[in-house]
Amino acid sequence: MAVRPMPLFYLTRLAFTELVRQPVCLLIALASVALSTGLPLMIAHQLGQQGGLARDGALAFELTGGAILAAYAACSTLSREMHSGTILAILSRPISRETLFLAKFAAVALLVMLFTICSACAALLAERLAPRFFETDWYGVRLLLAVPVAVFVPGALLNWRRGSNVAAWGWCFLVVALVLVTAALSRVDAEGHVGRFGEFLDWRLVPAAMLVGAGLLILAAFALGLAAHLPLAPTVVLLLVLLFAGLLSGYVAHLASRWPPVATAIRTLLPDFQMFWPADDLAGDAALSWRSVGAAALYGLVYTTGVLCLGTAAFRNRQF
Protein backbone atom coordinates (compact mmCIF):
# COMPACT_ATOMS: atom_id res chain seq x y z
CA MET A 1 0.00 0.00 0.00
CA ALA A 2 1.33 3.46 -0.89
CA VAL A 3 2.37 6.09 1.63
CA ARG A 4 -0.30 8.80 1.49
CA PRO A 5 0.71 12.34 2.49
CA MET A 6 -2.28 13.42 4.61
CA PRO A 7 -2.39 10.36 6.91
CA LEU A 8 1.40 10.66 7.15
CA PHE A 9 1.00 14.27 8.27
CA TYR A 10 -1.78 13.48 10.79
CA LEU A 11 0.11 10.53 12.25
CA THR A 12 3.35 12.51 12.49
CA ARG A 13 1.55 15.38 14.20
CA LEU A 14 -0.11 13.05 16.67
CA ALA A 15 3.08 11.13 17.46
CA PHE A 16 5.05 14.36 17.88
CA THR A 17 2.33 15.84 20.11
CA GLU A 18 2.37 12.73 22.28
CA LEU A 19 6.16 12.81 22.52
CA VAL A 20 6.51 16.46 23.54
CA ARG A 21 3.79 15.99 26.12
CA GLN A 22 5.72 13.26 27.87
CA PRO A 23 7.69 14.62 30.82
CA VAL A 24 10.48 12.06 30.34
CA CYS A 25 11.50 13.49 26.94
CA LEU A 26 11.72 16.99 28.38
CA LEU A 27 13.65 15.73 31.40
CA ILE A 28 16.21 13.98 29.17
CA ALA A 29 16.71 17.23 27.22
CA LEU A 30 16.94 19.31 30.39
CA ALA A 31 19.42 16.89 31.95
CA SER A 32 21.59 17.00 28.85
CA VAL A 33 21.52 20.81 28.73
CA ALA A 34 22.17 21.06 32.48
CA LEU A 35 25.14 18.69 32.31
CA SER A 36 26.54 20.38 29.17
CA THR A 37 26.39 23.85 30.66
CA GLY A 38 26.84 22.99 34.34
CA LEU A 39 29.95 20.81 34.27
CA PRO A 40 32.14 23.41 32.51
CA LEU A 41 31.59 25.72 35.46
CA MET A 42 34.18 23.56 37.18
CA ILE A 43 37.54 25.29 36.88
CA ALA A 44 39.30 22.33 35.23
CA HIS A 45 37.25 22.61 32.06
CA GLN A 46 39.27 25.55 30.74
CA LEU A 47 42.73 24.31 31.61
CA GLY A 48 44.78 23.01 28.71
CA GLN A 49 43.09 23.59 25.35
CA GLN A 50 41.06 26.76 25.32
CA GLY A 51 37.47 25.57 25.78
CA GLY A 52 38.30 22.13 24.38
CA LEU A 53 36.97 20.15 27.32
CA ALA A 54 33.80 22.25 27.53
CA ARG A 55 33.15 21.82 23.80
CA ASP A 56 33.89 18.10 23.79
CA GLY A 57 31.78 17.57 26.88
CA ALA A 58 28.80 19.42 25.44
CA LEU A 59 28.98 17.49 22.16
CA ALA A 60 29.38 14.20 24.03
CA PHE A 61 26.31 14.96 26.13
CA GLU A 62 24.44 15.81 22.94
CA LEU A 63 25.42 12.49 21.38
CA THR A 64 24.65 10.25 24.35
CA GLY A 65 21.63 12.26 25.55
CA GLY A 66 20.30 12.31 21.99
CA ALA A 67 20.79 8.56 21.64
CA ILE A 68 18.88 7.92 24.87
CA LEU A 69 16.16 10.38 23.83
CA ALA A 70 15.84 8.74 20.39
CA ALA A 71 15.60 5.28 21.95
CA TYR A 72 13.05 6.37 24.55
CA ALA A 73 10.97 8.30 22.00
CA ALA A 74 11.03 5.43 19.49
CA CYS A 75 9.96 2.91 22.12
CA SER A 76 7.35 5.21 23.54
CA THR A 77 5.81 5.93 20.16
CA LEU A 78 6.04 2.43 18.68
CA SER A 79 6.82 -0.51 20.94
CA ARG A 80 4.71 0.79 23.82
CA GLU A 81 1.80 1.40 21.44
CA MET A 82 2.18 -2.09 20.07
CA HIS A 83 2.33 -3.51 23.57
CA SER A 84 -0.64 -1.49 24.85
CA GLY A 85 -2.66 -2.06 21.68
CA THR A 86 -3.13 1.60 20.69
CA ILE A 87 -1.73 0.72 17.31
CA LEU A 88 -4.68 -1.61 16.63
CA ALA A 89 -7.15 1.25 16.37
CA ILE A 90 -4.80 3.06 13.96
CA LEU A 91 -4.07 0.10 11.70
CA SER A 92 -7.74 -0.83 11.55
CA ARG A 93 -8.11 2.39 9.53
CA PRO A 94 -7.00 2.63 5.90
CA ILE A 95 -3.44 3.30 7.01
CA SER A 96 -0.53 1.31 5.63
CA ARG A 97 2.13 0.02 7.95
CA GLU A 98 4.71 1.93 5.87
CA THR A 99 2.87 5.20 6.52
CA LEU A 100 2.72 4.50 10.22
CA PHE A 101 6.39 3.58 10.46
CA LEU A 102 7.56 6.63 8.51
CA ALA A 103 5.29 8.93 10.52
CA LYS A 104 6.74 7.61 13.74
CA PHE A 105 10.23 8.24 12.41
CA ALA A 106 9.30 11.77 11.34
CA ALA A 107 8.00 12.49 14.84
CA VAL A 108 11.12 11.13 16.53
CA ALA A 109 13.29 13.04 14.04
CA LEU A 110 11.45 16.28 14.82
CA LEU A 111 12.02 15.73 18.52
CA VAL A 112 15.71 15.01 17.89
CA MET A 113 15.93 18.25 15.88
CA LEU A 114 14.43 20.23 18.77
CA PHE A 115 16.93 18.54 21.05
CA THR A 116 19.75 19.44 18.63
CA ILE A 117 18.77 23.13 18.71
CA CYS A 118 18.85 23.03 22.53
CA SER A 119 22.17 21.18 22.45
CA ALA A 120 23.70 23.67 20.02
CA CYS A 121 22.77 26.52 22.37
CA ALA A 122 24.05 24.49 25.32
CA ALA A 123 27.38 23.88 23.56
CA LEU A 124 27.77 27.59 22.81
CA LEU A 125 26.96 28.49 26.41
CA ALA A 126 29.21 25.76 27.81
CA GLU A 127 32.23 27.06 25.91
CA ARG A 128 31.39 30.61 26.90
CA LEU A 129 30.70 29.93 30.60
CA ALA A 130 33.71 27.75 31.34
CA PRO A 131 35.78 29.97 33.68
CA ARG A 132 38.88 31.50 32.10
CA PHE A 133 41.84 32.16 34.39
CA PHE A 134 39.75 31.10 37.43
CA GLU A 135 37.22 33.90 36.79
CA THR A 136 33.59 32.78 36.70
CA ASP A 137 31.30 34.48 34.19
CA TRP A 138 28.63 35.38 36.74
CA TYR A 139 26.75 37.46 34.20
CA GLY A 140 26.29 34.41 32.01
CA VAL A 141 25.64 32.09 34.93
CA ARG A 142 22.80 34.31 36.18
CA LEU A 143 21.20 34.30 32.72
CA LEU A 144 21.63 30.53 32.48
CA LEU A 145 19.95 30.02 35.85
CA ALA A 146 16.95 31.91 34.51
CA VAL A 147 16.39 29.16 31.92
CA PRO A 148 14.80 26.53 34.22
CA VAL A 149 12.64 29.26 35.74
CA ALA A 150 11.57 30.31 32.24
CA VAL A 151 10.80 26.67 31.39
CA PHE A 152 8.72 25.69 34.38
CA VAL A 153 7.08 28.84 35.79
CA PRO A 154 5.09 29.86 32.67
CA GLY A 155 4.31 26.19 32.01
CA ALA A 156 2.99 25.75 35.55
CA LEU A 157 0.95 28.95 35.27
CA LEU A 158 -0.58 27.82 31.98
CA ASN A 159 -1.36 24.46 33.51
CA TRP A 160 -2.98 26.12 36.52
CA ARG A 161 -5.07 28.53 34.45
CA ARG A 162 -5.92 26.49 31.35
CA GLY A 163 -4.92 22.93 32.22
CA SER A 164 -2.29 23.01 29.45
CA ASN A 165 0.39 20.34 29.30
CA VAL A 166 3.48 21.47 31.24
CA ALA A 167 5.94 19.34 29.27
CA ALA A 168 4.77 20.55 25.84
CA TRP A 169 5.00 24.19 26.89
CA GLY A 170 8.26 23.35 28.62
CA TRP A 171 9.78 22.42 25.25
CA CYS A 172 8.63 25.71 23.73
CA PHE A 173 9.98 27.77 26.60
CA LEU A 174 13.22 25.76 26.74
CA VAL A 175 14.02 26.41 23.09
CA VAL A 176 13.03 30.09 23.28
CA ALA A 177 14.86 30.70 26.57
CA LEU A 178 18.06 29.00 25.38
CA VAL A 179 18.04 30.91 22.08
CA LEU A 180 17.44 34.21 23.88
CA VAL A 181 20.15 33.59 26.49
CA THR A 182 22.56 32.55 23.74
CA ALA A 183 21.72 35.64 21.69
CA ALA A 184 22.14 37.88 24.73
CA LEU A 185 25.49 36.37 25.70
CA SER A 186 26.74 36.58 22.14
CA ARG A 187 27.07 40.35 22.46
CA VAL A 188 27.84 40.78 26.17
CA ASP A 189 31.13 39.75 27.71
CA ALA A 190 31.75 38.34 31.18
CA GLU A 191 32.03 41.84 32.66
CA GLY A 192 28.80 42.99 31.08
CA HIS A 193 30.39 45.07 28.30
CA VAL A 194 28.25 45.16 25.17
CA GLY A 195 29.92 44.30 21.87
CA ARG A 196 28.88 43.23 18.37
CA PHE A 197 26.27 40.51 17.97
CA GLY A 198 28.00 37.15 18.02
CA GLU A 199 31.33 38.52 19.22
CA PHE A 200 31.61 36.49 22.41
CA LEU A 201 30.62 33.00 21.26
CA ASP A 202 32.42 30.30 19.31
CA TRP A 203 30.00 29.91 16.41
CA ARG A 204 31.88 26.91 15.02
CA LEU A 205 29.89 24.91 17.55
CA VAL A 206 26.65 25.41 15.62
CA PRO A 207 27.61 23.30 12.57
CA ALA A 208 29.36 20.91 14.98
CA ALA A 209 26.15 20.40 16.95
CA MET A 210 24.18 20.04 13.70
CA LEU A 211 26.63 17.40 12.57
CA VAL A 212 26.06 15.44 15.76
CA GLY A 213 22.31 15.95 15.19
CA ALA A 214 22.64 14.33 11.74
CA GLY A 215 24.28 11.34 13.43
CA LEU A 216 21.40 11.25 15.88
CA LEU A 217 18.95 10.90 12.98
CA ILE A 218 20.70 7.66 11.97
CA LEU A 219 20.37 6.50 15.56
CA ALA A 220 16.69 7.50 15.55
CA ALA A 221 16.10 5.34 12.45
CA PHE A 222 17.87 2.42 14.12
CA ALA A 223 15.95 3.03 17.35
CA LEU A 224 12.63 2.85 15.53
CA GLY A 225 13.62 -0.31 13.70
CA LEU A 226 14.59 -1.91 17.02
CA ALA A 227 11.51 -0.56 18.82
CA ALA A 228 9.27 -2.32 16.29
CA HIS A 229 10.49 -5.63 17.70
CA LEU A 230 11.92 -4.94 21.18
CA PRO A 231 10.90 -3.14 24.37
CA LEU A 232 12.71 -0.13 25.85
CA ALA A 233 15.63 -1.62 27.80
CA PRO A 234 17.09 -3.80 25.01
CA THR A 235 16.51 -0.99 22.52
CA VAL A 236 18.53 1.49 24.61
CA VAL A 237 21.31 -1.03 25.22
CA LEU A 238 21.54 -2.08 21.55
CA LEU A 239 21.47 1.52 20.40
CA LEU A 240 24.32 2.49 22.73
CA VAL A 241 26.29 -0.57 21.59
CA LEU A 242 25.67 0.49 18.00
CA LEU A 243 26.78 4.03 18.81
CA PHE A 244 30.07 2.93 20.32
CA ALA A 245 30.60 0.33 17.59
CA GLY A 246 29.99 3.08 15.06
CA LEU A 247 32.47 5.36 16.77
CA LEU A 248 35.05 2.54 16.62
CA SER A 249 34.09 1.28 13.14
CA GLY A 250 37.16 2.79 11.44
CA TYR A 251 39.46 1.28 14.03
CA VAL A 252 37.74 -2.13 13.89
CA ALA A 253 37.90 -2.11 10.09
CA HIS A 254 41.60 -1.26 10.32
CA LEU A 255 42.14 -4.23 12.66
CA ALA A 256 40.34 -6.46 10.17
CA SER A 257 42.30 -5.14 7.20
CA ARG A 258 44.07 -8.49 6.80
CA TRP A 259 40.74 -9.88 5.60
CA PRO A 260 39.55 -7.35 3.04
CA PRO A 261 35.98 -8.74 2.72
CA VAL A 262 35.51 -8.51 6.50
CA ALA A 263 36.94 -4.99 6.61
CA THR A 264 34.70 -3.94 3.71
CA ALA A 265 31.65 -5.46 5.40
CA ILE A 266 32.42 -3.61 8.65
CA ARG A 267 32.88 -0.31 6.83
CA THR A 268 29.68 -0.82 4.83
CA LEU A 269 27.36 -2.09 7.53
CA LEU A 270 28.44 -0.20 10.63
CA PRO A 271 27.59 3.50 10.62
CA ASP A 272 30.76 5.57 10.75
CA PHE A 273 29.94 7.90 13.62
CA GLN A 274 33.42 9.41 13.48
CA MET A 275 32.09 11.39 10.51
CA PHE A 276 29.64 13.06 12.88
CA TRP A 277 32.13 13.67 15.67
CA PRO A 278 33.70 17.07 14.99
CA ALA A 279 35.53 17.53 18.30
CA ASP A 280 38.97 16.86 16.79
CA ASP A 281 38.35 19.37 13.99
CA LEU A 282 37.45 22.01 16.56
CA ALA A 283 40.76 21.77 18.44
CA GLY A 284 42.60 25.05 18.11
CA ASP A 285 41.09 27.82 16.03
CA ALA A 286 40.47 25.86 12.84
CA ALA A 287 37.04 26.26 11.29
CA LEU A 288 34.94 23.23 10.44
CA SER A 289 35.23 22.38 6.77
CA TRP A 290 31.85 22.75 5.09
CA ARG A 291 32.96 20.10 2.66
CA SER A 292 33.27 17.55 5.46
CA VAL A 293 29.96 18.73 6.95
CA GLY A 294 28.27 18.26 3.56
CA ALA A 295 29.83 14.84 3.08
CA ALA A 296 28.70 13.73 6.53
CA ALA A 297 25.18 15.07 5.93
CA LEU A 298 24.95 13.16 2.63
CA TYR A 299 26.29 10.01 4.27
CA GLY A 300 23.75 10.45 7.07
CA LEU A 301 20.91 10.90 4.59
CA VAL A 302 21.81 7.79 2.60
CA TYR A 303 22.40 5.70 5.69
CA THR A 304 19.16 6.84 7.36
CA THR A 305 17.21 6.09 4.18
CA GLY A 306 18.73 2.62 4.05
CA VAL A 307 17.90 1.90 7.69
CA LEU A 308 14.35 3.17 7.19
CA CYS A 309 13.87 0.96 4.13
CA LEU A 310 14.99 -2.08 6.10
CA GLY A 311 12.84 -1.08 9.09
CA THR A 312 9.78 -0.55 6.91
CA ALA A 313 10.26 -3.88 5.16
CA ALA A 314 10.49 -5.66 8.52
CA PHE A 315 7.43 -3.82 9.81
CA ARG A 316 5.28 -4.42 6.71
CA ASN A 317 4.31 -7.98 7.58
CA ARG A 318 4.20 -7.53 11.33
CA GLN A 319 1.04 -8.99 12.83
CA PHE A 320 -0.65 -7.52 15.89
Partner: protein, 294 residues
Protein backbone atom coordinates in the same frame (compact mmCIF):
# COMPACT_ATOMS: atom_id res chain seq x y z
CA UNK B 1 -33.50 -6.91 17.29
CA UNK B 2 -34.24 -6.68 13.59
CA UNK B 3 -35.30 -9.38 11.18
CA UNK B 4 -32.72 -9.84 8.47
CA UNK B 5 -33.84 -11.52 5.25
CA UNK B 6 -31.96 -14.74 4.48
CA UNK B 7 -31.01 -13.46 1.05
CA UNK B 8 -29.36 -10.27 2.38
CA UNK B 9 -25.84 -9.99 0.95
CA UNK B 10 -22.98 -11.32 3.07
CA UNK B 11 -20.79 -8.55 4.40
CA UNK B 12 -18.40 -10.84 6.21
CA UNK B 13 -17.74 -14.21 4.68
CA UNK B 14 -15.24 -16.53 6.34
CA UNK B 15 -14.72 -20.07 5.11
CA UNK B 16 -12.48 -22.66 6.73
CA UNK B 17 -10.47 -20.00 8.52
CA UNK B 18 -7.47 -21.15 10.55
CA UNK B 19 -4.98 -19.17 12.58
CA UNK B 20 -1.94 -20.81 14.09
CA UNK B 21 0.50 -18.81 16.23
CA UNK B 22 4.04 -20.09 16.01
CA UNK B 23 6.96 -19.90 18.40
CA UNK B 24 10.39 -18.40 17.68
CA UNK B 25 11.43 -21.56 15.79
CA UNK B 26 8.34 -21.60 13.62
CA UNK B 27 6.73 -24.51 15.43
CA UNK B 28 2.94 -24.32 15.98
CA UNK B 29 2.30 -22.95 19.47
CA UNK B 30 -1.41 -22.16 19.63
CA UNK B 31 -4.23 -22.95 17.23
CA UNK B 32 -6.30 -19.88 18.01
CA UNK B 33 -8.92 -20.39 15.29
CA UNK B 34 -9.80 -23.71 13.66
CA UNK B 35 -11.91 -24.20 10.56
CA UNK B 36 -14.07 -21.18 11.28
CA UNK B 37 -16.91 -20.65 8.85
CA UNK B 38 -19.34 -17.83 9.36
CA UNK B 39 -21.38 -15.39 7.34
CA UNK B 40 -22.58 -12.02 8.59
CA UNK B 41 -25.32 -10.48 6.45
CA UNK B 42 -25.86 -6.84 5.70
CA UNK B 43 -27.76 -4.99 8.43
CA UNK B 44 -27.58 -7.68 11.08
CA UNK B 45 -26.11 -7.68 14.56
CA UNK B 46 -23.99 -10.80 14.86
CA UNK B 47 -22.52 -11.93 18.16
CA UNK B 48 -19.35 -13.93 18.68
CA UNK B 49 -19.61 -15.57 22.07
CA UNK B 50 -17.12 -17.59 23.95
CA UNK B 51 -15.02 -17.82 27.08
CA UNK B 52 -11.63 -16.10 27.38
CA UNK B 53 -9.12 -17.52 24.92
CA UNK B 54 -11.74 -18.97 22.62
CA UNK B 55 -10.50 -17.06 19.57
CA UNK B 56 -12.97 -14.15 19.46
CA UNK B 57 -10.41 -11.35 19.40
CA UNK B 58 -8.17 -13.27 16.98
CA UNK B 59 -11.13 -13.58 14.61
CA UNK B 60 -11.87 -9.86 14.84
CA UNK B 61 -8.21 -9.02 14.20
CA UNK B 62 -8.24 -11.21 11.09
CA UNK B 63 -11.38 -9.40 9.92
CA UNK B 64 -9.45 -6.13 10.29
CA UNK B 65 -6.32 -7.34 8.53
CA UNK B 66 -4.26 -6.97 11.71
CA UNK B 67 -3.59 -10.72 11.74
CA UNK B 68 -3.30 -12.84 8.62
CA UNK B 69 -5.13 -16.19 8.46
CA UNK B 70 -2.86 -19.23 8.26
CA UNK B 71 -5.34 -20.79 5.83
CA UNK B 72 -8.92 -20.36 4.68
CA UNK B 73 -10.79 -17.70 2.80
CA UNK B 74 -11.92 -14.36 4.19
CA UNK B 75 -13.89 -11.61 2.45
CA UNK B 76 -15.08 -8.44 4.12
CA UNK B 77 -17.37 -6.18 2.10
CA UNK B 78 -16.41 -8.25 -0.92
CA UNK B 79 -12.69 -7.58 -0.60
CA UNK B 80 -9.65 -8.49 1.41
CA UNK B 81 -9.45 -6.86 4.84
CA UNK B 82 -5.86 -5.91 4.00
CA UNK B 83 -7.14 -3.53 1.31
CA UNK B 84 -7.40 0.12 2.32
CA UNK B 85 -10.70 0.47 0.46
CA UNK B 86 -12.21 -2.26 2.65
CA UNK B 87 -10.92 -0.79 5.90
CA UNK B 88 -12.28 2.65 4.99
CA UNK B 89 -15.74 1.19 5.58
CA UNK B 90 -14.92 -0.55 8.85
CA UNK B 91 -15.16 0.80 12.37
CA UNK B 92 -13.36 -1.00 15.17
CA UNK B 93 -13.66 -0.68 18.90
CA UNK B 94 -10.86 -2.68 20.54
CA UNK B 95 -11.27 -4.79 23.66
CA UNK B 96 -9.33 -2.31 25.77
CA UNK B 97 -9.66 1.43 25.27
CA UNK B 98 -6.32 1.87 23.58
CA UNK B 99 -6.13 5.64 23.55
CA UNK B 100 -3.40 8.25 23.57
CA UNK B 101 -3.37 9.28 27.20
CA UNK B 102 -1.91 12.75 26.60
CA UNK B 103 -4.65 13.73 24.14
CA UNK B 104 -8.00 15.14 25.16
CA UNK B 105 -11.24 13.43 24.15
CA UNK B 106 -11.80 16.04 21.45
CA UNK B 107 -8.25 15.75 20.08
CA UNK B 108 -8.57 11.96 20.01
CA UNK B 109 -11.76 12.07 17.98
CA UNK B 110 -10.40 14.77 15.67
CA UNK B 111 -7.38 12.59 15.01
CA UNK B 112 -9.44 9.52 14.13
CA UNK B 113 -11.77 11.65 12.02
CA UNK B 114 -8.72 12.94 10.12
CA UNK B 115 -7.55 9.38 9.50
CA UNK B 116 -11.04 8.59 8.27
CA UNK B 117 -10.57 11.28 5.62
CA UNK B 118 -13.14 13.77 6.96
CA UNK B 119 -12.59 17.39 5.92
CA UNK B 120 -12.39 20.12 8.54
CA UNK B 121 -16.02 21.30 8.73
CA UNK B 122 -17.47 17.78 8.54
CA UNK B 123 -14.82 16.65 11.01
CA UNK B 124 -15.78 19.26 13.60
CA UNK B 125 -19.45 18.43 13.11
CA UNK B 126 -18.87 14.69 13.55
CA UNK B 127 -16.69 15.23 16.63
CA UNK B 128 -19.43 17.34 18.23
CA UNK B 129 -22.06 14.73 17.34
CA UNK B 130 -20.02 11.84 18.70
CA UNK B 131 -19.11 13.64 21.93
CA UNK B 132 -22.77 14.40 22.46
CA UNK B 133 -23.76 10.83 21.55
CA UNK B 134 -21.46 9.19 24.08
CA UNK B 135 -22.23 11.79 26.77
CA UNK B 136 -18.78 13.30 27.19
CA UNK B 137 -19.61 16.94 26.48
CA UNK B 138 -18.43 18.09 29.90
CA UNK B 139 -15.15 16.16 29.62
CA UNK B 140 -14.22 16.90 26.00
CA UNK B 141 -11.14 18.95 26.96
CA UNK B 142 -9.85 16.52 29.58
CA UNK B 143 -6.92 14.21 28.87
CA UNK B 144 -8.18 10.69 28.25
CA UNK B 145 -5.39 9.41 30.51
CA UNK B 146 -7.42 10.87 33.40
CA UNK B 147 -10.63 9.12 32.34
CA UNK B 148 -12.29 6.25 34.17
CA UNK B 149 -12.50 2.97 32.26
CA UNK B 150 -16.12 3.61 31.39
CA UNK B 151 -15.38 7.07 29.99
CA UNK B 152 -12.45 5.69 27.99
CA UNK B 153 -14.79 3.02 26.54
CA UNK B 154 -17.14 5.77 25.43
CA UNK B 155 -14.29 7.54 23.62
CA UNK B 156 -13.38 4.18 22.09
CA UNK B 157 -16.93 3.73 20.88
CA UNK B 158 -17.02 7.26 19.47
CA UNK B 159 -13.77 6.79 17.55
CA UNK B 160 -15.15 3.61 15.97
CA UNK B 161 -18.19 5.53 14.74
CA UNK B 162 -16.58 8.84 13.83
CA UNK B 163 -16.24 8.16 10.09
CA UNK B 164 -19.74 6.66 9.83
CA UNK B 165 -18.60 3.14 8.81
CA UNK B 166 -20.82 0.55 7.15
CA UNK B 167 -19.54 -2.30 9.30
CA UNK B 168 -18.76 -2.09 13.00
CA UNK B 169 -16.57 -4.59 14.82
CA UNK B 170 -17.03 -4.21 18.55
CA UNK B 171 -14.81 -6.15 20.91
CA UNK B 172 -16.41 -6.34 24.37
CA UNK B 173 -18.30 -3.04 23.92
CA UNK B 174 -19.95 -3.07 27.35
CA UNK B 175 -16.90 -4.13 29.34
CA UNK B 176 -16.15 -1.65 32.11
CA UNK B 177 -19.36 0.32 31.67
CA UNK B 178 -21.88 0.94 34.43
CA UNK B 179 -25.45 -0.34 33.84
CA UNK B 180 -26.55 2.99 32.36
CA UNK B 181 -23.57 3.06 30.03
CA UNK B 182 -24.32 -0.56 29.07
CA UNK B 183 -27.92 0.28 28.30
CA UNK B 184 -26.85 3.30 26.22
CA UNK B 185 -24.38 1.20 24.23
CA UNK B 186 -26.97 -1.51 23.62
CA UNK B 187 -29.55 1.07 22.54
CA UNK B 188 -26.95 2.60 20.25
CA UNK B 189 -26.14 -0.78 18.68
CA UNK B 190 -29.83 -1.40 18.03
CA UNK B 191 -30.24 2.10 16.63
CA UNK B 192 -27.26 1.64 14.30
CA UNK B 193 -28.65 -1.70 13.16
CA UNK B 194 -31.99 -0.02 12.39
CA UNK B 195 -30.06 2.45 10.24
CA UNK B 196 -28.65 -0.43 8.19
CA UNK B 197 -25.21 -0.85 9.73
CA UNK B 198 -23.78 -4.32 10.01
CA UNK B 199 -22.41 -5.01 13.46
CA UNK B 200 -20.26 -7.84 14.73
CA UNK B 201 -20.08 -7.88 18.51
CA UNK B 202 -17.73 -10.00 20.48
CA UNK B 203 -18.40 -10.53 24.16
CA UNK B 204 -18.84 -12.92 27.02
CA UNK B 205 -21.59 -10.82 28.63
CA UNK B 206 -24.34 -13.14 27.49
CA UNK B 207 -27.31 -11.11 28.71
CA UNK B 208 -26.08 -8.08 26.76
CA UNK B 209 -25.59 -10.18 23.66
CA UNK B 210 -29.05 -11.68 23.94
CA UNK B 211 -30.50 -8.16 24.07
CA UNK B 212 -28.89 -6.97 20.84
CA UNK B 213 -27.89 -9.84 18.57
CA UNK B 214 -29.90 -11.26 15.69
CA UNK B 215 -27.61 -14.26 15.33
CA UNK B 216 -24.71 -15.59 17.35
CA UNK B 217 -21.88 -18.05 17.01
CA UNK B 218 -20.44 -19.72 20.08
CA UNK B 219 -16.70 -20.30 19.94
CA UNK B 220 -14.73 -22.71 22.06
CA UNK B 221 -11.03 -23.39 21.57
CA UNK B 222 -11.18 -21.61 18.24
CA UNK B 223 -14.01 -23.74 16.83
CA UNK B 224 -17.64 -22.78 16.23
CA UNK B 225 -19.74 -24.99 18.53
CA UNK B 226 -23.13 -23.50 17.73
CA UNK B 227 -24.42 -20.89 15.33
CA UNK B 228 -27.82 -19.45 14.49
CA UNK B 229 -30.52 -16.92 15.33
CA UNK B 230 -30.60 -16.12 19.05
CA UNK B 231 -34.32 -16.83 19.36
CA UNK B 232 -33.93 -20.29 17.85
CA UNK B 233 -30.84 -21.18 19.86
CA UNK B 234 -32.32 -20.25 23.23
CA UNK B 235 -35.78 -21.63 22.54
CA UNK B 236 -36.75 -24.74 24.51
CA UNK B 237 -39.12 -26.89 22.42
CA UNK B 238 -42.58 -27.45 23.97
CA UNK B 239 -41.85 -24.99 26.78
CA UNK B 240 -43.66 -21.63 26.97
CA UNK B 241 -43.72 -18.68 29.32
CA UNK B 242 -47.09 -16.93 29.56
CA UNK B 243 -47.34 -13.45 31.07
CA UNK B 244 -50.71 -12.33 32.40
CA UNK B 245 -51.66 -8.91 33.70
CA UNK B 246 -54.56 -7.98 36.03
CA UNK B 247 -54.79 -11.48 37.55
CA UNK B 248 -55.67 -11.88 41.25
CA UNK B 249 -54.57 -14.81 43.40
CA UNK B 250 -57.83 -16.75 43.07
CA UNK B 251 -57.83 -16.59 39.27
CA UNK B 252 -54.14 -17.50 39.19
CA UNK B 253 -54.77 -20.61 41.30
CA UNK B 254 -57.63 -21.68 39.04
CA UNK B 255 -55.51 -21.18 35.93
CA UNK B 256 -52.60 -23.13 37.39
CA UNK B 257 -54.90 -25.97 38.37
CA UNK B 258 -56.41 -26.03 34.88
CA UNK B 259 -53.00 -25.99 33.17
CA UNK B 260 -51.65 -28.75 35.42
CA UNK B 261 -54.67 -30.86 34.65
CA UNK B 262 -54.27 -30.30 30.90
CA UNK B 263 -50.50 -30.80 30.79
CA UNK B 264 -50.33 -33.58 33.32
CA UNK B 265 -47.21 -32.16 34.96
CA UNK B 266 -46.35 -29.30 37.37
CA UNK B 267 -46.57 -25.72 36.11
CA UNK B 268 -43.99 -23.14 37.30
CA UNK B 269 -45.54 -19.91 38.51
CA UNK B 270 -43.63 -16.85 39.67
CA UNK B 271 -44.51 -13.18 40.01
CA UNK B 272 -43.52 -11.12 36.99
CA UNK B 273 -40.75 -8.66 37.81
CA UNK B 274 -38.49 -6.29 36.01
CA UNK B 275 -34.80 -6.88 35.55
CA UNK B 276 -32.37 -5.42 38.08
CA UNK B 277 -30.77 -3.46 35.22
CA UNK B 278 -34.07 -1.84 34.35
CA UNK B 279 -34.71 -0.95 38.02
CA UNK B 280 -31.18 0.48 38.41
CA UNK B 281 -31.46 2.61 35.29
CA UNK B 282 -34.84 3.96 36.39
CA UNK B 283 -33.69 4.80 39.94
CA UNK B 284 -30.49 6.52 38.82
CA UNK B 285 -32.19 8.42 35.99
CA UNK B 286 -34.93 9.66 38.33
CA UNK B 287 -32.40 10.65 41.00
CA UNK B 288 -30.25 12.53 38.48
CA UNK B 289 -33.27 14.34 37.09
CA UNK B 290 -34.25 15.42 40.61
CA UNK B 291 -30.77 16.63 41.60
CA UNK B 292 -28.53 17.17 38.57
CA UNK B 293 -24.76 17.05 39.25
CA UNK B 294 -23.09 20.46 39.77
Amino acid sequence: MSTIPHDAPAVIDARGLNKVFRDFWGRPKVRAVQDLTLEVRSGEVFGLLGPNGSGKSTTIKMLLGLLYPTSGELRVLGGSPRDAATRERLGYMPEESYLYKYLTAQETLEFYASLGGLRSRRRRQRVDEMIELVGLASARHRRVGEFSKGMARRVGFAQALIHDPDVLLLDEPTSGLDPIGCRQVKDLILDLARRGKTILVCSHYLADMQDVCDRVAILLDGRVCAQGPVRELVRQPDTWRITLEGVDDALRDRLVAYLQEQCGRPVAVEPAGRSLESLFVDVVTRQRAASPPP
